[in-house]
Subunit: 153 residues, 2 copies
DNA sequence: ACAATATTGGTAGAATCTGCCAATCATAAT
DNA sequence: ATTATGATTGGCAGATTCTACCAATATTGT
């Protein structure tokens, strides 16, 4: 993939806001005719710049009002321990995001569950089963102030 | 909105994974004919369970490889201070997410920028301008281990 | 200026969406 | 059991949209 020009960025911004925009509407929003607009979108998809599309679901309406940030420290950072942890994380549905952090080589996870009781379950049944964890620190979110799908720039 | 039944959940799961699925494909994936399937989708949209659709963009490919988690503490929690902060946050594009946290009444922000230099700029020009901030703590992410659009359950 | 390459706009046929209608299913009351 | 009620379903036709081509235009490098 070569560089993104301003039209590509306009397309990306529009589709981050409205992922199901029809190609016709998209094309007039970026001052292009439908053909080249669609071709640009497909190129962005093939190049992996656009990695997919997703419905944005209201956690509470879906019955998952509890968000917890969980910080994890591993006791060793051998390849085995790290791989085991990251593989486990990939398979746990309640973990929506997981970042490898600088500093104390921690992980930061965003966990979504239906209730506090379910969170305890989650820790016991999913996290404590993973080997090599040195410490856990849970921070509960009271609510979401902002959540954007549109990258800056 | 009444309760979500299993078909609704199947629809939601499918659209979280593939937000641009055509209604025809979606309908056969949930064992329904296109008409009732589309009606369910529209109902979920109107009820706000499906809050929208978004293209998922690769941060690095888009030129924004740096993710920082920024913890903020306000010096007072008067209505004015809180409102000023949350309004400011809403208007800053680099802040992709902001949560109000339990514990020390902090905020946790996910910030996306192009470089460390830009992050310093961001702190100076955007965050330090907001009144009422008592402390800041930045944690840098080395990378993303997992990022899911599909809620559990 | 010229050639080579990339990008654009248009078009027709296939696929899709949309808003209706009648048929079916589930529930509850008599 | 039977009937009535309401909700949900499936099918259909017109309008919209997508897709894969083509020639025309713009851009780039020499």
């Amino acid at each position: 993939m070569t560089k993104l020009d301003e039209t590509d960025r306009k397309i990306i911004r529009a589709l981050q806001r409205e992922g199901r925009l029809s190609n016709q509407h998209l094309s007039q929003r970026v001052n292009l005719s439908p053909s080249p607009c669609l071709r640009r979108v497909r190129n962005l998809e093939r190049a992996g710049v656009i990695d997919g599309y997703a419905a944005i679901v209201d956690q509470e309406a879906y019955g998952l009002p509890v968000t917890v940030f969980l910080q994890v420290r591993l006791d060793r950072h051998s390849q085995d321990t790290v791989t085991a942890f990251e593989t486990a994380v990939a398979g746990i549905d309640e973990i929506m995001e997981c970042y490898l952090m600088a500093g104390d080589r921690d992980y930061l996870l965003r966990v979504v569950v239906a209730s506090l009781a379910d969170y305890e379950e989650f820790i016991r049944r999913r996290i404590h089963k993973i080997p090599g964890i040195a410490s856990l620190d849970s921070s509960f979110a009271f609510g979401v102030v902002k959540r954007s799908q549109v990258l800056p720039g």
